[in-house]
């Protein structure tokens, strides 16, 4: 899953949704709302032939297909059929926006804006490769392979987002995390020494400047956290 969505902040829900399907098939989990075979076919038709040249919001999906079958999955919404042997159709929404003005991880969660943006949809049956469809918004989270597959049809990608995707490319050297950590610790110690020397020498520093310098290491540490999330081994 990490390889499929290297730019997603985390893929915990996506990974566990596979086991949710297994538990469903064995009858241990009962969907709170099971779709009729006809309604299920409509959802399936949407993910096969629906318009994925545009972005979709959670509210639009809910308007079309109603509430998801399980209320307890957070940003992965599943639709189950009455016949549980059919599997699940899953809609993965983006919890975090990957782009920020300073290049770090987004501080504003999309859910705080009132609506999730659809990243992709998939099924728990068949090959993931064949059943994964990204929205233009979701493409920025996709692995190059998935992106290449999705590029077979015309898509619209915001250049700024594409640039950010390159910044967070999974082709980060393995030692990157260590390097960034050492940079941060060096910068922090330099900052500490500088503030001590300034305090002792009596230099006058304006408050905004000092604040600005104090904030910078925090932004760097955020970036390390994001990078490390996909440097680690996939499931």
């Amino acid at each position: 899953m990490n390889e499929a969505f290297p730019l997603a902040a985390h893929v915990d829900d996506e990974a566990t949704s596979i086991y949710a399907d297994l538990a469903c098939r064995f009858g241990w989990l009962k969907p709170e709302r099971a779709l009729s075979t006809k309604a299920w076919a409509e959802v399936e038709q949407f993910i096969r032939t629906g318009n994925f040249d545009r972005d979709w919001q959670l509210s639009e999906i809910k308007t079309m297909f109603g509430e998801p079958s399980f209320s307890w999955l957070t940003h992965v919404h599943a639709y189950a059929c009455e016949d549980v042997s059919k599997g699940l159709i899953l809609f993965d929404y983006a919890m975090y926006a990957p782009q920020t003005p300073n290049g770090g991880r987004a501080a504003v969660r999309l859910e705080d804006r009132g609506d999730y943006s659809l990243r992709n949809c998939r099924t728990t049956y068949g090959k993931l490769k064949e059943n994964l469809r990204f929205t233009p918004f979701g493409l920025q989270y996709a692995s190059p392979t998935c992106r290449g597959k999705a590029d077979e049809k015309p898509t619209r990608i915001d250049p700024a987002r594409a640039g950010m995707a390159r910044l967070y490319s999974p082709a980060v050297p393995a030692g990157c995390q260590k390097l960034l950590s050492s940079c941060i610790s060096r910068q922090s110690s330099r900052l500490k020494n500088a503030s001590v020397s300034r305090a002792t020498s009596g230099d006058r520093i304006s408050r905004p400047t000092r604040l600005g310098r104090a904030i910078r290491p925090l932004a760097m540490s955020e970036k390390v956290q994001t990078v490390s999330s996909f440097v680690t081994a996939p499931m």
Binding site: E3, A4, T16, Y19, L22, F26, W72, M235
Partner: protein, 73 residues
Amino acid sequence: MRSSEEVHEHLVSMLKSLFARPGMWGYETGREIITLHILRELAFIDSREDALEDAVMDLRAGAYQAPALFGGG
């Protein structure tokens, strides 16, 4: 001593909790071990261990393996 129905119910509630907040159940491999453990316990109560093992093998062999995304299988 609790009955098997009660144990079953308890395991299902654990499973729901795991799916609702997976981040609280460890990271990747650890969480996978716990999930499979709960599923295997449930299968044991239902006497469906073989069916579950087959399903898990199918899962590992094909559909959701990451290498499948890269043409490996």
